[in-house]
């Protein structure tokens, strides 16, 4: 019986879990975090290029979701809602960082450079990957906000165009256009690595 209950629980959709969380069931929210935490951490990381603080920001995203769980209406996919909150938080964070300009270029390169498995790679491979990582971040950073969000969500989070459209608040056609334009600009900016 217990096995059946746990099996049916694993098959619960995000919306079902959110509805349970809405009634005060924290175990449902824990399950949602298990499913989406890694994605959100990486999404934040692509935005900020700050490995050390990505988890803190991701926790802040989930805290906001948790605080607003009572207002949740199952109209859209949970992940759409989650990434919408994450996007808003990331944009605010990036803007405040730009104002502060507290992170120096060296520091950013240091943070961006922690790429891949350093144990299995030689120093030259690691340096190259660090360099490419920083270049990708800088190239993405230079894109207009919507193009940047569209590319990160499509490329790194594997979100379908429909969902990206809901996160950004535009049509599917517009998302495709953002990705296309962003891609064209990235070709120019990352030419040396192609």
């Amino acid at each position: 019986m217990q096995t059946f209950v746990s099996l049916s629980r694993t098959m619960e959709s995000d919306i079902e879990l959110m509805l349970r969380a809405k009634t005060g069931d924290d175990s449902a929210f824990t399950e949602l975090m298990r499913r989406h935490y890694k994605g959100v951490v990486n999404y934040v990381y692509r935005f900020t290029n700050d490995r050390a603080n990505s988890e803190d920001l991701a926790q802040e995203v989930f805290l906001r979701v948790y605080r607003s769980v009572k207002r949740y209406k199952p109209q859209a996919k949970f992940s759409t809602w989650l990434y919408k909150i994450a996007t808003n938080l990331c944009i605010t964070e990036v803007k405040s960082r730009n104002k502060e300009q507290s992170v120096s270029l060296d520091e950013m390169q240091e943070k961006a450079g922690e790429l891949g498995d350093s144990k299995s790679e030689g120093p030259s491979d690691l340096t190259l990957r660090r360099e490419i990582g920083t270049a990708i971040f800088e190239a993405l950073k230079s894109l207009p906000e919507r193009e940047r969000v569209a590319i990160i969500l499509c490329k790194y989070e594997d979100l379908p165009y429909e969902e990206v459209a809901e996160v950004i608040g535009c049509t599917i056609g517009a998302v495709k256009a953002y990705v296309h334009r962003g891609r064209m600009k990235l070709i120019e900016k990352l030419k040396t690595y192609l």
């Binding site: 790429l115 990582g133 296309h180 192609l194």
Partner: protein
């Protein structure tokens, strides 16, 4: 088709979103146009290049850390909201406290002033005697200056006696 139009269609072509005629048009153009062919290749390459920016690994303790954070924030919020919720009670009890404090200070002040030991020195005594003497001399002078209006005190004494 023009190159700009082809560049726009390349993404849709890669996604398999084009209808048959557009698809054939793009393929034909790519075979003929070197520039667009390079763009098509680069578009793929740049998309694949993005994979070189690897993901971060998450820490295993993210769940306990999250719930600890929730509890900590709840406590902080609870303290602030409790204060506002009990604002009326807090104000009344604060007012009563202040009144009691004022009364205590007042009573202590009275008691202390009553129990104060005033020590008269010899100098104080001579000063006091001097003041009494001064007062008497003034009284005497005043009485003498008033005599022109008649012996008031004697008359009263006589009336009483009569």
């Amino acid at each position: 088709m023009e190159c700009e139009k082809i560049k726009e269609l390349i993404l849709h072509y890669s996604e398999g979103d084009l209808n048959q005629s557009d698809k054939l048009g793009v393929e034909k153009h790519l075979k003929e146009c070197k520039e667009c062919n390079i763009y098509f290749e680069q578009s793929h390459k740049v998309w694949n290049l993005l994979d070189n920016w690897s993901a971060v690994e998450i820490k295993n303790d993210f769940l306990p850390r999250f719930w600890d954070r929730v509890i900590t924030e709840d406590r902080k919020k609870g303290n602030v909201f409790d204060f506002f919720r009990n604002l009326r009670v807090n104000l009344i009890s604060g007012g009563v406290g202040v009144i009691i404090l004022i009364l205590v200070v007042f009573l202590v002040n009275i008691l202390v002033s009553h129990h104060e030991n005033i020590v008269f020195t010899e100098e104080d005594r001579s000063d006091e005697e001097l003041l009494i003497e001064f007062d008497r001399s003034i009284t005497k002078e005043t009485a003498e200056s008033l005599e022109i209006y008649g012996p008031w005190s004697d008359e009263i004494e006589e009336n009483k006696g009569g």
